[in-house]
Symmetry: C2
Subunit: 332 residues, 2 copies
DNA sequence: ATCACATATTGTAAGGTTAACATGGCGACA
DNA sequence: TGTCGCCATGTTAACCTTACAATATGTGAT
């Protein structure tokens, strides 16, 4: 493989001049530029990207940390990030944190030790305190689907409150007044905000929130099952169920059907996230779209703008959820 | 950040000796080693991994090409590969090929230009000829879920014929004799092999394969719908339907239900792949497990063994599918 | 015409690590 | 005591960018 040195000697200029032609960031006279370009093509020269990284302190790689590589939510997220960065010639190094504090720390350390130019992370286990500290390091870090007030400029987040509101409103609009609610883990801000929106919708329509019809789930299938089980065991009256994500909605549906409910006639269920399989389950799940693919795109743009100096990009930090009407809510 | 040069001068040895201690691949006297180690810890020295890559021509990164980042099949595959490589301190650079010839070429070029030490790819668009040529390059390439006779040692593949056989047999064992079949695209070897297995099961049980009950699908939801639609339009008699993957099974189920079929009483359906949502759809889908997570693990091991010289690993090139019994097949 | 100065263009060298090759020292054996 | 051979260690080239240095070219004043 030809090196920059051979090019420079063939063109009769110094290394630096060749480098300047390659990166074209400083003025080079047209005559010199032409000589260098001819030498490059004659030798079939291609820069060694590792040497470029070493000399420039830039690896053109962005580290991604997600909780899991499988699962529809993260798939969409990665796809959004990757397509945007790939188009800019950057590559993504992906690793996982499994929603656990220690493994998230470890994953971030791993990515930093790999000299990523920036990190885009989806954290669920680490404390805000740790995160704020981390962001003082030399590797810029951006946060997906999360808002940390001190680092708002580095966050891309969903208006979860609005999502919670829309879900409740969808049920209310179809005549439901007795609405059960299975939330995500309380310590997660997403869970909290969705619930706040839910309560706002209720109170706007003069409906009371019933603590008996609240269950704290785990954002997994099991949470949906456990929540519905509790409500049924207590023999509470309700016609609709809000689940704070689609996995729990799916779990609740399975449980409901196993206990003789016809869906959606006997029980209306709404989910949250609009993950791909929500349209495959039966009845097709009405849910709240979480535009995670677009958010991935935007996170990538944020990196391109702040880290790779692509100036004319407009950044949207906050995204809006939207109601996706399908078949899992009955008109009362 | 301390450099190897500072370490060497503090320890009173040459750069090379420090490097030897770091990589401990050549004999260094105990006395010298101790001096160097003390100097390293005193300075808090950490090697610059870019410089290591540059000097050693090794990036410790493995390029992965999948068709899509989202989607359950590829999620499992990536998860398998990543977890194994990460444990070995290697990182994965992931990109997509979208099952199209040009984009697969482009993706591979991209990964090679990034100096990956090896590639693990899942190709659907490229011809075997092109692939064989590619494998003559200096970057070793390994193939997931594919078998190329000339490169068998670089392939990790599923026994699709057996899978097709098991699916048909599952239906036959429950008394079905009129079985429709929706295959994947004919040009894909996976599709062909699954169909061959299917036919073997039929003939072993003295059942004829009915060309009228065959439809070439696209491995997507739409293929399942279109296939079932054709069979119904032709008013053919059949009690069971084999779909060559789960997505098509899901599409067929939706279509069947929309046309008044009770499942599985009126129609038994079996899928292939056992993707995650197959247990969420209703009725829970009976399918053939495609151990793609394990295959990802194995591909990673293959790379560790061949490229990173981890010798004591046993490699399995061929994987066996297995029947997963759920609720979508009725006993006749 | 000459000089000083500004500006445009090009050159030099450092920076981090590995690996091939080179050197030096020491013991063994004749 | 000479020499062969081996073990431990040293030297150097390899990659490209960028801050700084140096040189060339042009401009305006005297």
């Amino acid at each position: 493989m030809a090196t920059i040195y051979e090019v420079s000697s063939l063109a009769g200029v110094s290394l630096a001049t060749v480098s300047r032609v390659i990166n074209n960031n400083t003025r080079v006279s047209d005559k010199t530029r032409k000589k260098v370009e001819e030498a490059m093509s004659e030798l079939g020269y291609r820069p060694n990207s590792i040497a470029q990284s070493l000399a420039s302190n830039r690896t053109n790689s962005v580290g991604i940390l997600v909780s899991e590589l499988h699962g529809p939510f993260f798939g969409q997220m990665m796809a959004g990030i990757e397509s945007e960065l790939r188009a800019a010639g950057k590559h993504v190094i992906i690793t996982t944190g499994h929603s656990e504090e220690d493994r998230e720390k470890e994953g971030i350390d791993f990515l930093i030790s790999r000299n990523c130019d920036a990190l885009i992370v989806h954290l669920e286990g680490l404390t805000d305190e740790y995160i704020i500290n981390l962001s003082k390091g030399s590797t810029p870090i951006y946060f997906m689907s999360k808002i940390i007030p001190e680092l708002e400029e580095n966050c891309i987040y969903l208006d979860n409150e609005l999502g919670g509101y829309l879900a409740a409103k969808a049920l209310i609009d179809k005549g439901h007044t007795q609405i059960a609610y299975i939330s995500g883990p309380k310590f997660k801000p997403d869970s909290k905000d969705r619930l706040i929106g839910h309560k706002r919708a209720l109170s706007e329509h003069n409906l009371a929130f019933n603590d008996e019809l609240y269950f704290e789930g785990d954002f997994k299938e099991t949470g949906g099952k456990a929540g519905l089980k509790q409500f049924l065991t207590k023999k509470l009256a309700f016609t609709a169920l809000v689940c704070a994500n689609d996995e729990m909605a799916s779990g609740a549906m399975t449980y409901a059907r196993e206990h003789g409910f016809a869906l959606p006639q006997d029980l209306s269920i709404i989910g949250f996230d609009n993950i791909i399989f929500s349209r495959h389950i039966y009845p097709k799940l009405t849910t709240i779209d979480n535009p995670v693919y677009d958010m991935g795109h935007m996170a990538a743009k944020l990196v391109l703008k702040n880290v790779y100096q692509q100036k004319n990009l407009t950044i949207n930090h906050s995204f809006e959820p939207a109601l996706i009407n399908r078949d899992s809510i009955a008109q009362l």
